[in-house]
Symmetry: none
Subunit: 516 residues, 2 copies
Amino acid sequence: MQVIEEEPIRLTRTDDRIRDLLHLLHSLSDLQAAGSLLGWDQMTGGLPEGAGEVRAHQAATIKGLIHEQRTAARLGQLLDELEGVIEHSSFTNTDRGLVRWVRHDYEWATKLPRSLVEEMERASVISYQAWVRARATNDFASFAPHLQRTIAFQREVADHLGYQEHRYDALFDRGNPGMTSRDLERLFAPIRETSMSLLRRIQDSALGIETSFLTGNFAQEQQRALAEQLLGSIGYDFSRGGLALSPHPFTFMGLGAPQDVRLTIRSSDFLPSSMMAALHEGGHALYEQGGDKALVRTPLAHGTSSGFHESQSRLWENVIGRSEPFWHHHYQLVQQALPHPFQQISVQAFSRALNHVQASLIRVEADEVTYNLHIIIRFELEQALLDGTLAVESLPRLWKEKYRSYLGIEPESDANGVLQDVQWVSGFGSFPGLTLGNLYSAQIAHALRQQFADCDERLSRGETTFILTWLREHIHRFGSIYRANELLQHVSGEDANPQYLVTYLTEKFSRLYALL
Amino acid sequence: MQVIEEEPIRLTRTDDRIRDLLHLLHSLSDLQAAGSLLGWDQMTGGLPEGAGEVRAHQAATIKGLIHEQRTAARLGQLLDELEGVIEHSSFTNTDRGLVRWVRHDYEWATKLPRSLVEEMERASVISYQAWVRARATNDFASFAPHLQRTIAFQREVADHLGYQEHRYDALFDRGNPGMTSRDLERLFAPIRETSMSLLRRIQDSALGIETSFLTGNFAQEQQRALAEQLLGSIGYDFSRGGLALSPHPFTFMGLGAPQDVRLTIRSSDFLPSSMMAALHEGGHALYEQGGDKALVRTPLAHGTSSGFHESQSRLWENVIGRSEPFWHHHYQLVQQALPHPFQQISVQAFSRALNHVQASLIRVEADEVTYNLHIIIRFELEQALLDGTLAVESLPRLWKEKYRSYLGIEPESDANGVLQDVQWVSGFGSFPGLTLGNLYSAQIAHALRQQFADCDERLSRGETTFILTWLREHIHRFGSIYRANELLQHVSGEDANPQYLVTYLTEKFSRLYALL
């Protein structure tokens, strides 16, 4: 474990090996940026409909070149050489972070046979098509063989990569280095209990929250303008980014961070789909824009793990963006953009509506209390499928049982149940990072409030710069020099601790729903 | 010289060497598409202003990888092998065109050191930004060092490539294989004489043409919609392309032709700046969209030379798009898009206005009579800068002198003078292709009229498909299997001949201005 020092962020470019390493990494970063731009172009409507096939070839070629560069023998040699000397005081923590990051990526890339990677890529395209059809026709059985094949691939991947205890650990380690499923189980247990208990108490309470005004025929241009104003207000730098519309909201982190970090939103009849997505993607984007300039064109320029990235999006979307103080100032933007109906709605009613809790079937539409239950269900099912203790054909039944048990409802169809997410088309291990992000966000927010006792008053006045400055100083500028647990120690003084999220949720929703 | 045969366009993929060659060329084409998309993104406003430097690196890396693939030893071996057997009847003309094209490109690329190519690419991105600023602030001095650097690079390039007589030949041969500056001088001499003489006679004539209605406060969205309608009407396929706004109109040919060919226009108070640019870029785009599908992801998918490309843009912009018959039908689109003032203007007055001749400062807005003088001035200045007979600091002065001498006017500012074109941001040798294009377009139009005696009547009825079909059949589908002179022989029965342009200009403008 690295301890974060207040030394400047600096790569020792005077060392030949570091310079050679950077030469390879710069090229890789540039190539990834070009690949990322292919995605941006497609997602934001630039790609003509008649160019799908030629674009698929282009993307595959770029992907192949990236794989070639990530697994270059010269990269392995440089890592071997540097690892022998990197602890020497002539190297910086930035150097050490770089070597550690590249080793992790190199192992991942070289341990998997290229034939397996290509076979999985091909299978995932077929699997995606099968999933689209299965969801449209509510026909899980037609998707089952593809899921079965994905599970077999994921086991093979884990076996190639190696693991201590569970195959799942090998998969999760990709996006969250050093974390195991045992860690996740321990961290998630109190969150599950609290969420279930809070949900029951809220369902039992007589208090209802009016939300109907959040749905309406809101013009796309108004939603876009509102999103731009909110993003500008929280400190998103448009001179190093851009906003576009796409079918799904997304932050493009690979275009050239911290100098080029773009995001998309979609407009919808349900206003939070654009407005809160802007704050969510904005949180991701602020993290990427905050990386130290010394890290540009290196893999360290990006956020350190999928969980930590999600902590930043959730901090801005939920902890700040669903708090009443934030809206005391910012609600005027909503009222100006959409005078009807919001001139008639009080800020209190508006911010309460954003926090309405309801057991529901669809993860991406869930509130803060139930969201983590959706994730934990998926995590538990992924583990069981990977271990073989759950057969694919029993998955829909168990999905329903778990929804019944955790959320008190169950889907009438698989389309609204086990077939709702795209993730299982290609693999396992991405869901837990989302709850980990919520956990981290509460712990970071606690540290923030320790530092700024007048946090809510400042938010009420429309100030957010003090938060961004603090995040940049303690988290963002480091990119991925340090790992999630190191950053968390640095910023909060302790390891990941679920009690902060438990306390945050309990206090917030007890107050909102007047629970005893 | 290849004679064009009516055999189908077909690559002999059953031959191992052709297949191996295509494997390399497909990868190269994909990489070039990714590089081209970087350009599209920058030109259409996607690239954030803070990302100029990182984008310069990305473009340089992609260019470097392209250079690596273009100069791969395996490519050279395959060319050597194929050249020994390619005349055999088991190969097609398409195969022969491919080998010839790749050999020309390979020679060009292998003669340039990679470091030079990368350095030039980086410099051109920086130079572009300097040019944008210099033009906005009318500050040639701030752009001069970048131009100086470009000239040094261009000399180095020519010296690496080798040439018989002039460095300029080496540069021009890149886009127009087989053509020298001596050829250009010979072809341009009668055009210069005719243009200067026509201009003087028009200036002396008493006849004035009213054009004031072409300038107005036309909404950008209306101009864009009109451009879209005109493009659709001449056969541009939006399902394999797209239209955007940019500071300089441009056709993106490298994105994945014929399946992805996008273009840009700019809007302006002077309607023809958008409307005629749409027809001009549309002509380029039709050429690229017309390539046979068998050529996709090969270099043969694109137009055969810069001059020949320009013949297609000029044919649609000028020969067709500035003819009265074309507007008999299409003027209704203008009147619908911009009722004020065009409901009050007759089609005859409108089409006459589009052909108003006036010595002016801006090349891209010049009429058909003066346009070639703008080009010839640039051609002469490029030759002098490259030879070193003209110093960069004297360029603005000589620019003014030549404008005074050829056109009888001179710019009051460099922004309207020497800083007006984007081309010198990156190199020399592109301008003469534009006048060559005018020359070819007149020759091709003559052949078209031989074929379709009722050409004008059909145009008057709004028909253009017969022209596009004829161009596709005789020119477009071949991509760059054949060279410009071969295509010209095929379509017109003779070599490049400036008399067609001389006759076209003389007849058209004598009639319009009632010259004796």
